[in-house]
């Protein structure tokens, strides 16, 4: 017979509900605790360069020379900042048109064929580990550049090429979703007026999906900016701003990867590397906020 409405039969499921609530709450609390800790620890280590070692912030951000072993030790991070930005932006400049073409192919030109063959290709490209990209970059791209262009073959160009393939899936996936979400009526209206497919694409589809495409590009740039090993393997790692695209350079991530293991925890040199990590982390926040702002704009 059904139980009275308020008696202690309530106990078994009440206990169960509490188990559920507490367990899931703890999991989410762990997540929050993690990101807060990451920010706290990286920031406190990164800032100690300025507060404990009294390195000047402006000098770090704009200085051209990075010589932790020099007399006196100089910490100018501009070469790394420059390297990170130039490789990421160049990579996006290469990947964006490629990704756009791929998504147009998959959504407009050959949907069945495209989804069946190009989509898995994109997904596979996304799944290849970054060290493998670095290895192929080192074995194929760098020698190729060395033969064809002046210089050692390493540098910003090599980094950008490798990164562009790595971020291609990100851009393509977002562009494809954006194109597929367009109401059909929009394109049909254009065709009904006699426009060709290409005209429809660049006059109507492109402008309408532009915010979403921008989101994809920014996410791609963010991914490239944070990539460490693949870049470090092909960039050359010289701590100064290169004079050409084919001269050895460095990025924030490559500098950290290279030197973190060689410096003692607590030393100035080590703290300075943490400051580089702090710059990297802050750029992550900037990218997230840019993406959120773009998403808000595209909702209008």
């Amino acid at each position: 017979m059904a139980q009275p409405l308020e008696k202690q039969q309530a106990k078994p499921h009440l206990a169960e509900e509490w188990v559920g609530r507490i367990y899931t709450l703890l999991c989410i609390a762990f997540l929050i605790l993690t990101i807060v800790s990451i920010v706290y620890f990286v920031a406190s280590k990164g800032l100690s360069t300025f507060f404990v070692n009294h390195v000047n912030v402006i000098d770090l951000l704009t200085g051209l020379k990075w010589a932790p072993d020099g007399e006196p030790a100089v910490f100018g991070a501009l070469p790394f900042i420059f390297g990170s930005f130039s490789t990421s932006l160049l990579a996006a400049a290469i990947a964006a048109p490629l990704g756009f073409c791929a998504s147009v192919f998959m959504v407009e030109i050959a949907p069945g064929f495209g989804r069946k063959y190009l989509q898995p290709v994109i997904e596979l490209l996304a799944g290849i580990p970054s060290v493998v990209y670095g290895f192929v970059g080192l074995s194929v791209v760098v020698p190729f550049f060395r033969d064809v262009f002046p210089g050692q073959g390493v540098g910003i160009a090599a980094g950008a090429v490798v990164l562009s393939i790595m971020i291609l899936p990100t851009i393509t996936t977002i562009a494809t979703d954006a194109l597929a979400a367009l109401p059909k009526g929009l394109k049909e209206g254009s065709f009904a007026l006699g426009a060709t497919r290409w005209q429809t694409i660049y006059r109507i589809v492109l402008p309408t999906t532009l915010p979403a495409l921008m989101t994809g590009i920014v996410l791609g740039i963010a991914r490239a900016f944070g990539e460490a090993l693949a870049v470090q393997m092909v960039i050359g790692n010289a701590p100064h701003i290169p004079r050409s695209l084919f001269e050895s350079a460095s990025t924030l991530t490559s500098a950290i990867t290279l030197s973190m293991g060689n410096t003692a925890m607590g030393s100035v040199a080590n703290n300075a590397l943490w400051s580089l990590a702090l710059i990297l982390m802050m750029m992550t926040f900037v990218f997230v906020f840019i993406v959120r702002w773009l998403e808000r704009r595209s909702k209008l």
Partner: protein
């Protein structure tokens, strides 16, 4: 130029680009497999690496990668499921929840090298785990968690509302409804996503450089005591994984066959990732067919 010509040229360019991308993948995979497959042998897969002589293998590294993956998934899956269930079923629709979503988004964008640095500071040094599998597993957990949360949420959101309501209407508690009715329906999506996430974890290196470390002690595969320092099962020993090893050989490879080893190791890694990818796909299709064929 007429609109029709422009259209033809544009179409040509687009199709060529699509073809180019396929070629790039084929070239990439082809290069790795051609260069590397020849070097793979049973010996290669099981023997330890040589620092300066030729003939080294990737045995310990391969084992470490697998063991680390298992450890990481054991930790991440319950955490990710729990957090995902919270976000999908318990989180009220308010500003706090929006902030939590922002937190998850930020965590998913943090570069893995920073996760590794965080691991170095907190797990290796502060908590004193040292360079170890355990530190590596926790670092990879942090790296993997946002994805698991998203996968769980996606899976739960795909459960039809009436299923949930039917269970609640029978007088079942919310938690029981989630575990006995909703999760089973969401399982194909969650499972597929988890396998793909596992593929990502298997290939990750940047987060492990400073947590699981860049060396692996001489492992005694006959010693299965997890507390012994030479046992492969000891989670507190340094554990260079396959991906990290590839990076190390390329930067400091002193052995004369370093390039071949790197190629062979890359081939193994790529094959593993391909298996994860195809496995997830196949499983997704199989489960989907099984579920919908009943209808």
């Amino acid at each position: 130029m007429s609109a029709k010509t422009a259209n033809k040229i544009a179409t040509g360019v687009i199709v060529s680009v699509a073809g180019l991308i396929v070629l790039v993948l084929a070239g990439l995979l082809g290069f790795i497999l051609v260069r590397g497959l020849g070097h793979i042998s049973f010996d290669f897969l099981t023997s330890a690496p040589e620092t300066i002589r030729r003939g080294g293998g990737i045995g310990p590294q391969l084992f470490n990668s697998v063991f680390l993956l298992v450890l990481t998934m054991i930790i991440t899956i319950p955490l990710g499921l729990g957090a995902g269930i919270y976000m999908s079923e318990y989180a009220p629709a308010n500003k706090v929840t929006n902030s939590i979503r922002l937190v998850v988004e930020v965590l998913s964008s943090v570069p893995s090298i920073i996760v590794g640095l965080f691991g170095l500071l907190v797990l290796v040094n502060l908590f004193g785990f040292g360079f170890s599998l355990f530190a590596g597993a926790l670092a990879l957990t942090v790296f993997n968690l946002p994805l698991m949360v998203r996968i769980t949420e996606q899976g739960l959101r795909g459960v039809p509302r009436e299923q949930k309501e039917a269970s609640l209407a029978l007088g079942l508690s919310k938690w029981k409804t989630i575990t006995s009715v909703m999760l089973p329906i969401a399982m194909p999506v969650i499972l597929t996503g988890t396998i793909l996430a596992a593929g990502r974890v298997f290939g990750e290196a940047a987060a492990l450089l400073f947590t699981a470390g860049m060396s692996s002690p001489r492992l005694d595969f006959t010693d299965w005591n997890p507390f012994s320092p030479f046992s492969p099962l000891n989670p507190f020993r340094p554990a260079e994984t396959l991906a990290v090893h590839i990076w190390k050989i390329n930067s400091e490879g002193l052995a004369p066959d370093a390039k071949e080893i790197a190629a062979g190791a890359s081939a193994v890694l790529v094959i593993a990732v391909l298996l994860f990818n195809f496995g997830a796909r196949w499983l997704g299709r199989y489960l989907h067919r099984k579920f919908t064929a009943i209808k």
